[in-house]
């Protein structure tokens, strides 16, 4: 029997029982749609975390002081201060894979503008910092190396600080504000950066030259962090090796000694978060996959009922010249038609519902091609797998008994 005939016979058999075919399909539709939507949610959250981390500057490198052992007691990061101006100049002098470098000293405090005040963080950095963080200004100008040298009392305000200190929309550029008791001249406003991957408001910040912060506020020669940017993403590993060598020499560590600093790259951070959301994707996908299997069992069940119910039809077809193989293929094609049609509808529904989730719940979703292709293949295989057994049963019927079946 030709394939077209086979297809036509199966299609007509399904048309005779539209409602049942549709309900059987529903299991597959829901299964496929949920696989696609769930994976889309997982992939979407992964993508949004990756994007946020990259927006910090994908080739950013962070150097922190490491915990250190002093007289046998291991101390935590904050109590250890190892990063100094000396390290910065060593890196500036020797590093080849680094394009920008900036120390960071942070100080919590109250910023005041007239009657308005706001608790925020003052971050002392170098002019390179904006480049490293990929952070443009929305107005004004950045401070310069000259400002750093002279420890000028100039600052840049984040958007959150601006809205709290200048609630009536005045342009802050050119104004004088105070950080605790120290006056600063506002020379620029940072563009809005939004929340970071940890939910912190990145715009709640005041930036000033690090020398100013060190000398006038924290009175410390140490840095909390050093930020650097590698020449490009691919050069990050080389940059990390280079920095390690330079810092070990600068800190006079002997070959057997542990590093007294930690170097983290943005790529590492991205990987850590990606693997978490990858796990989420796999979990959601697995749950949805189970519903697909249940849908497949639904097909098998209906095909069994169908074979029993249509025993007489099978007998008739056999008496008219259908071979066992023809009957087998007919039922198999019916099962595959149900699963594939259900799969296609499910894919459409899955994509639509991912869009709706993004639209109404504002969750990021990303429909990946691989999840569409994979769930479609699984459906087709489900059809063959769960359709084969009932079809086998149908083809093995004895035509005489099938004809007499009531």
């Amino acid at each position: 029997m030709s394939f077209i005939n086979l297809f036509r016979i199966a299609l007509r058999a399904l048309q005779r029982n539209k409602m049942r075919a549709f309900l059987t399909m529903l299991g597959i539709i829901i299964g496929v749609a949920s696989v696609i939507a769930m994976v889309a949610i997982g992939q979407g959250s992964k993508k949004s975390i990756q994007d946020q981390l990259s927006s910090m500057g994908s080739n950013m490198i962070t150097i922190r002081p490491n915990s250190n052992v002093t007289a046998g007691a291991r101390l935590d990061f904050s109590s250890v201060q190892t990063l100094t101006e000396q390290d910065i100049s060593a890196i500036k002098k020797q590093a080849q894979y680094i394009t920008g470098i900036s120390p960071a000293v942070n100080q919590r405090g109250q910023v005041i503008n007239g009657s308005m005040n706001w608790a925020t963080t003052l971050q002392g950095v170098s002019p390179d910092f904006l480049g490293i963080r990929n952070w443009p200004l929305s107005s004004g100008i950045p401070f310069t190396e000259a400002d750093v040298k002279t420890a000028d009392k100039v600052c840049l305000l984040g958007q959150t600080v601006v809205s709290n200190l200048f609630p009536n929309g005045d342009d802050p550029v050119g104004k004088i504000i105070r950080f605790n008791t120290i006056p600063f001249k506002v020379i620029g406003v940072l563009a809005s950066k939004g929340e970071n991957a940890f939910g912190q408001d990145q715009d709640d910040i005041v930036m000033a030259p690090y020398s100013t912060v060190q000398k006038r506020i924290s009175a410390s020669i140490y840095f909390q962090n050093i930020y650097a940017s590698a020449i490009d993403e691919a050069g990050t590993d080389k940059a990390v090796n280079e920095l390690t060598t330079i810092l070990r020499a600068s800190h006079r560590l002997k070959p057997g000694d542990e590093d007294d600093f930690t170097i983290r790259t943005q790529a590492e951070l991205i990987n850590t978060f990606s693997s978490t959301s990858q796990l989420l994707t796999v979990l959601l996908g697995a749950i949805a996959g189970i519903s697909l299997v249940v849908g497949g069992i639904g097909i098998m069940n209906i095909m069994y009922v169908s074979v029993t119910e249509r025993t007489k039809e099978i007998g008739l077809r056999m008496s008219l010249g259908a071979r066992g193989k023809d009957i087998l293929l007919q039922f198999l094609v019916e099962a595959i038609l149900i699963s594939i049609t259900g799969g296609l509808i499910g894919i459409a529904l899955g994509i639509t519902s991912s869009r709706l989730i993004t639209f109404f719940l504002k969750w990021p979703t990303l429909v990946s091609q691989s999840s569409v292709v994979l769930s479609f293949l699984v459906c087709a295989i489900t059809g063959v797998f769960f359709g084969y057994y009932p079809a086998q049963k149908a083809s093995g019927l004895d035509p005489i008994e099938a004809l007499r079946y009531e």
């Binding site: 007509r12 008219l320 023809d326």
Partner: protein
């Protein structure tokens, strides 16, 4: 000499029911020539159904030989039997056995679906011709539940004819019909027979046998009578003789 469609020699069929062996057919021999209209009669338990199944190539004999249009049925595989049924036999059943929710035309096309050598256009053409032959040309798109019993049986006959079989095999084909409709069906059978079709008609009603040209009586797995009907009754005349209006 006329061509022999069926050649049956010492045909036996036994069934094993647990420890017992039931002899349904105990050695039957007869030939059917082309153009014959044969009725096989017998009460239930006479082996009539067993014989019908074997004649229809749904079953194989335990012993003896059965040649259908020259092919030895006993040596054929399941698939080859299916092919033989498709090409050489047209079945007409007591319960019509039409596919529900399927138009008359598609029902008639069904046997041709299992014959890969026939194109879709050919299939439709032949199905339409067969429906014309049973005078249902205007009802091709009707579903079985929109047709009367007699019309359904005529669709079934069209389905049996569409593959141009060497033999029509009818199993109590008038059993579900009232006498008037039975006569209509028998008139159609006689007309097809006059046109050259070989017909084997299994029945237990003697007045149906009267329309055929030859009758075989079965009892207890053996042939008790095999006689030619010199003057078969004409179903057409019977119909004409019936009262025009039948008010029940």
């Amino acid at each position: 000499m006329e061509k022999k469609i069926l050649e049956i020699k010492e045909l036996k069929r036994e069934f094993r029911m647990g420890a017992e062996t039931v002899h349904a057919l105990k050695g039957i021999s007869f030939d059917v020539k082309q153009g014959e209209f044969l009725t096989i009669m017998g009460s239930s338990g006479s082996g009539k159904t067993t014989l019908l199944n074997i004649l229809g190539c749904l079953d194989k004999p335990s012993d003896g030989s059965y040649l259908l249009d020259g092919a030895d049925v006993k040596t054929l595989s399941r698939d080859e039997l299916a092919r033989l049924r498709n090409h050489k036999i047209g079945f007409v059943f007591q319960a019509y056995n039409l596919l529900p929710r399927t138009s008359a035309l598609e029902n008639v096309e069904l046997p041709l679906m299992y014959n890969a050598s026939i194109s879709a256009r050919d299939r439709k053409e032949r199905a339409l011709r067969a429906l014309e032959a049973v005078k249902l040309a205007e009802r091709v798109d009707h579903m079985p539940n929109q047709l009367s019993g007699g019309q359904q049986q005529r669709v079934a006959i069209a389905r049996a004819l569409v593959n141009e079989p060497v033999m029509l095999l009818a199993d109590e084909a008038t059993g579900n019909l009232d006498s008037k409709t039975s006569y209509e069906i028998m008139a159609l059978m006689q007309e097809l027979n006059t046109g050259g079709k070989t017909i084997v008609f299994v029945t237990h009603e003697p007045d149906i046998a009267a329309f055929s040209s030859r009758t075989i009586m079965l009892r207890d797995g053996r042939i008790t009578k095999d006689y030619l009907n010199e003057q078969p009754r004409s179903a057409k005349e019977m119909l004409a003789a019936m009262p025009a209006t039948d008010d029940y």
